[in-house]
Point group: C2
Chain length 160, copies 2
């Protein structure tokens, strides 16, 4: 997952050009968000991104961040899914296509890799002609550690 990017050495370097190619603009605020995204591994909530942007630039305004996320999603640079609590979870596209596992006991999360989901994807494609968006896949359950202990109820998901 590290070699031979299509055009630029760092995919992030393309972004300003891609924006301008659409008549959109490259602003300091977008620069901040892109810097945050570039430093992000895995998934982040919208609110988290706002917070991290604010750390870089205290003048960050939420609406600007969300509006830019919309644009970036149209450009195919980020995608969003939903976490256990229903909040928006963004993740950066360049990463391999994968979904997420959520433990409703400890709230931990891990990636579901394409090969693990392959059978499900294949079955749904054959039986229903359904094309799974792996990046949006959320599998909830109990991790090995939590599976042993008591039944987690709704409250477990609210803790934290």
């Amino acid at each position: 997952m590290r070699e031979t990017p299509p055009t630029a050495a760092d995919p992030w370097d393309e972004v300003p050009g891609r924006l301008r190619a659409r008549g959109l603009r490259w602003t300091p605020q977008r620069r901040t968000l892109l810097a945050v995204l570039a430093a992000t591994r895995g998934h982040v909530t919208g609110a988290e991104l706002v917070e991290r942007c604010r750390a870089m630039d205290p003048a960050t305004i939420p609406s600007t961040v969300y509006r830019t996320l919309d644009v970036l999603e149209e450009l195919g640079i980020v995608r969003h899914a939903h976490g256990l609590d229903g909040r928006e979870e963004f993740h950066v596209l360049p990463a391999a296509d994968h979904g997420h596992i959520w433990c409703s006991g400890c709230l931990g999360t891990w990636d579901v890799h394409a090969d693990e989901a392959a059978a499900l994807v294949a079955v749904l494609a054959q039986r229903r002609g359904f094309r799974v968006d792996l990046s949006h896949l959320s599998v909830v359950g109990l991790c090995e550690g939590c599976a042993g202990e008591g039944q987690p109820g709704r409250e477990a998901q609210r803790a934290g």
Copy 2:
């Protein structure tokens, strides 16, 4: 498997007793919600349940509905997951254990049956000791009809 049902013919008939057994109470408001749930197939959002209760009893108060849903979830009578837009999706337990497929193009939803997810469940169990909660599974992608047409972006999920 036909004779002597554990306690009641209709599982809903047990509810008042199960509540009282815990020192909880059977109220008209809970009666309304249970009636709505009993008439519900598939999944419903919390807001939808509030609305349907209000149809039966215009005096319905949202907080009462949500509080009762919490109780019912503790009793194992409903479970919740999250839909495409992140809202709470409740569904009634007695139904077979299944997840949901969401088409991000047309916003349609279908069930993912246990056998379709079996391979995924097995892989995650073997490789990670993870116990999948099928009722919480959300698979997003494009249905057969939508897969042919143009790329759906974030906006497709906002439409409607």
